[in-house]
Point group: C3
Chain length 464, copies 3
């Protein structure tokens, strides 16, 4: 706004008049230099939540494609249903109880056990035409439900990680039961300690968009599940060798990773939580640039080290390297020295590839490599905040350990309880024939002639 042109010469005026003119000039100048208006800020902040939140929702499609292409064809449909189901369940549970536990009246450890969530009284008044309520609405900085929307899509990400690791053997409804508790309690508790303003936040724990809060949480829950459920039949042979279980559809795995990469701009960019002025806009730009650089470095690192570590230039390692790079930068994507993003992402990519190898040597069967990409890189990313984003190492470590111990134990307990009631794992016969036909009565690609998986059959025979 340029108000200066409205001010003519003031030489003809008396002193008090000049004084008044001075006021006018001050007002005018104040107009000219003014920051973004409060209501405009409100719209920017809200729109930012909605747009970036929509992109984060899109990540759920990314996980679905990644996982559906990574499993064998006989389980490609049930993983689709698990993913669309988990997104639905996560959204509903977060609406019913999760958000309140995480953000409403957080007392240090936990928020409020209130059911449902909705617009504020001021917002309802404004929508009913009460213009006087506007000031109070604007005071909040963003619309109440735009924040809810943005927070909600993060819950689903956490659950998506688990479905990947435990694919091809976890029962559909058992997975859904776990998701209910994850979205309603486990994730909101971790969130209450941190973003909700609880004890870890008060210690100064830094996790910009959730290397620990989202990705490690998902990773720990997945690891606990993988330990309870055990590896797929025949995955680790008696002679110590590992059965190759290659992805059944590489192009959609790749598509999934591109979707995740795109969605991550919303995941990290939206986590700036505001777009109401120049400083926020600058910070958000830096966040997107770092996010992209870290992912790119993760890809190149993973491709490069895959040959020495895994014995070949490995596409899947490269794709997983992108995710690891993204997870690594997620705790501190607002750094201003962008080369650190390259380094952090690069290290994340290396950690991921080595982690894939390690997990295999520990005989932990993680179908899509989610634990290395989300948990290992998540820990690295959370600690890396100390390097370039000003984190305190002991505080960051405390956060990593506290979240890790809590989520891992709670998940172990929950998976164990599910195991003792409805059971976690499908029967060997169902696993053999595939969950698609056994649990859903369909095939993912019914018209394509498929290779018989002879080894599985022989393996079972040997076991009998």
């Amino acid at each position: 706004m340029n108000c200066n042109s409205a001010i003519p010469s003031i030489r003809r005026l008396t002193l008090p008049e000049r004084l008044l003119a001075g006021f006018i000039l001050l007002v005018a100048a104040s107009c000219a230099n003014a920051a973004v208006e409060q209501e405009t800020q409100f719209v920017f902040n809200t729109f930012s939540f909605l747009i970036w939140g929509a992109l984060v929702m899109w990540m759920c499609a990314g996980f679905t494609m990644l996982e559906s292409g990574s499993v064998r064809t006989k389980n490609a449909s049930v993983i689709c249903l698990k993913n669309i189901g988990l997104y639905s369940i996560a959204g509903l549970m977060y609406y019913f109880v999760g958000y309140n536990l995480m953000y409403t009246d957080v007392s240090g450890w936990i928020g409020s056990f209130t059911l449902l969530y909705g617009p504020s009284a001021e917002e309802l008044a404004l929508l009913s035409g009460d213009e006087e309520a506007k000031a109070a609405v604007i005071e909040n900085g963003y619309s109440v439900m735009s924040d809810w929307f943005f927070q909600m899509v993060f819950v689903a990400t956490t659950a998506s990680i688990i479905s990947g690791t435990m694919a091809e053997r976890v029962k559909l409804w058992s997975f859904f039961i776990f998701t209910i508790f994850l979205a309603a309690i486990i994730y909101p508790l971790v969130g209450a300690w941190t973003w909700g303003g609880g004890w870890l936040n008060e210690m100064g724990f830094q996790d910009f968009a959730g290397s620990t809060i989202v990705h490690s949480t998902g990773g720990w829950a997945a690891l606990a599940g993988a330990l309870i459920i055990g590896p797929r039949l025949g995955k680790f042979r008696a002679d110590g060798s590992v059965k190759s279980t290659p992805p059944s559809n590489i192009p959609i795995v790749t598509l999934g990773v591109f979707i995740l990469w795109l969605g991550w701009f919303g995941f990290n960019g939206g986590s700036q939580l505001a777009l109401g002025g120049a400083a926020d806009a600058v910070a958000m730009s830096n966040v997107l640039v770092n996010t992209n650089l870290a992912a790119a470095a993760g890809v190149m690192a993973a491709i490069s080290v895959s040959r020495p570590v895994l014995g070949r230039v490995d596409l899947l390692a490269g794709l997983n390297g992108a995710i690891a790079g993204l997870v690594s930068i997620t705790a501190g994507p607002d750094i201003v020295a962008h080369y650190w993003a390259v380094i952090i992402g690069f290290v994340g990519g290396v950690i991921c590839v080595v982690g894939m190898k390690l997990l295999e040597s520990w005989k932990v069967d993680d179908v899509v490599g989610a634990v290395p990409a989300h948990l290992f890189a998540g820990v690295w990313g959370t600690l890396a905040v100390c390097i370039a984003a000003g984190g305190n190492f002991m505080v960051q470590l405390t956060g990593v350990l506290a979240v890790g111990v809590f989520v891992f134990l709670a998940s172990l307990l929950l998976w164990y309880a599910i195991e003792k009631t409805v059971g976690v794992r499908v029967s060997a016969a169902v696993e053999e024939v595939g969950q698609d036909s056994a649990e859903l009565g369909i095939e993912s690609y019914p018209e394509f002639v498929l290779m018989p998986d002879t080894e599985d059959i022989e393996h079972l025979r040997t076991e009998d």
Copy 2:
């Protein structure tokens, strides 16, 4: 903007000076509390149309994946061409005549028969550098073509519904001819009565983003087409049993549903039609939240009732339930009690599954279940506006019936006319071999060995 800091003490001034100072304070206060500036509103409104409109365009890819994965492999390419073709035709016809019929000088029943559409004279002047035209441009609230863009992408959605229902047997060019008339006349007429300000709008008919105007219109046209064209060969056997025609590629069907879900944030969110202040931003946030909750509830409802209704936990029912939930909330996504969105979406999901079963029992062959998801759930959603969004039941019913009767009859007539001229349906031989090789000379997956569809062949033999 905070102008208050510019105002010092006024105690030293004379009365008239104090009066003047009062003016200044009023101006300053007015600055401080002012709403979003008019031009800023213009940019917000326009950007909202463009961004959300781009997401609605993306829904066309969603329908394409959904349909291409749902048909048998021998028709997976031609449905791709139908979809990219329908989007192209819809956009061109809406530019040539459709938009004017729907929005320009609507007289109650119909708008203007003017060819082409373009920026306003003021906009052209502004773009030519005439700054004085800016006030008139801003007065419109949004750029002329941003609104056109947002309205255009809705037309394609309507046409996409039809291609799904009539897949695997409707001729490519016959479908394109229908699309021309749908985009140029049928849809614009329905639009003129409602969003264009015509008689249904004057009655108070409410349809926020088009449960009836878009989805039921597509559904009625699809139903008319399905009745004219008849079921696929061998779909309904003489003994009353129904031939299973499972989707050929489940992962891309799932991808399609995720794309639609994402695009629906634009579909419903953008239909707020404005983002120029706090009230709009709040409303848009509520719209996105309701959209997501209804879809989630639709998924869970459809999965849950699929076992009793369809005899198994049905992935496709679950996916279609997401769409039904989305369609159900589309007429009134601006409700502020979000639990109603859960309920409305849940009922929509149930209606969809039951509708799929009913259609089958009526021997109507709807390849992707578009009629239950878009028409049945669309009717439900339009009536559901009376529950929580203040709609009048008789008015809503009138809208449902008026649009239904008009679109169904017009479509019947049009399909009949096409049948009597170029023909609607491919020959039995083409249907047998598939439209891909017959109409396009290609195969969708030429390198994959496919199962022979022996039943079809036998069926034909029996018929001969």
Copy 3:
């Protein structure tokens, strides 16, 4: 902002007081009519770069799907890796040197050889809490890194074009080496001459979003590569006939084109480079409308002429027609007479189909038809700027030729140098068995039974 209501009657005032009141009214009026505030503009401009830039990044997924579905299954994975690799490399190289060469202190022919890029000193100060730096930050119009982000995603598009043309035979690492030089030097030089403010820009060369700068550059480099590497084994038979190499997965090719179409709204819309007021918003709207109309016309043109030119209604021609329409309008998408977009896109679609036929007759093996769609249509689009967007024909032609000669020769030289060192082309044995198993040790669809490509084997035998 409406400040007028704050101004009461001024009749009781003395002359100087009235004068003052006049000032106040002027200030108030100036508030009321004021343009978008500078900081608000800054946020709009920045957000526009980020959102549209994210959509352009998404185009990389589009190219990946397009190419992965277009090649034979035995090469579908390696092309995925090439694409995610090229996007990573392009982003890193553009960060290391490319952007500075293109935009920093451009002297006419070339920018600065400075390593790395980052936020401005003012931005760093602002982020550190120095509010006084804000004015200088805002002065720039947009955040420094948001522009970098938007420019970065364009580089990858250029490289994506090349991977498509040279698919199924170019070595993974050789392609990566070429990409390094393309992103670090070739593309930035072309960019320096034009968008960087160099000699072509000074001549008045117009290329709004890069018909020449991006698409022709990619096309020329691809053509040079295709000439150096030669056609796939057996593509052009001794008897003059051409071996059919149909796409292996049509639905994902179609998905790829829809992704590109969506991403192009960001590509062209974001190239308005500003969203700080009504004029920019209007222009951006027109850009999106023209982009969509040209693509739609390209599809219909290509479908229509494919029967006479290629002998059948060709899906791939139709899909490529969309891309050609998009490329054609990219040099001047800001025209206000939208019917010109229809015509320009239509001609682009025809040129593409004829170009595909021509290339084949010249025995140039372009796997996805990228040269006709990006180079031929790019030349057409750059010249078409003279029709409706006020370009000067000789200037446009100079730009086309200068960029063409430079990129073609530089690429020839670079491909030749790679050929003489590490080699450009895989061995005949690798080509036979496929790059997926040879270079990556995987198969794209390992569970699907595939047709043996008997002709290839026989062809080799004949050659031996």
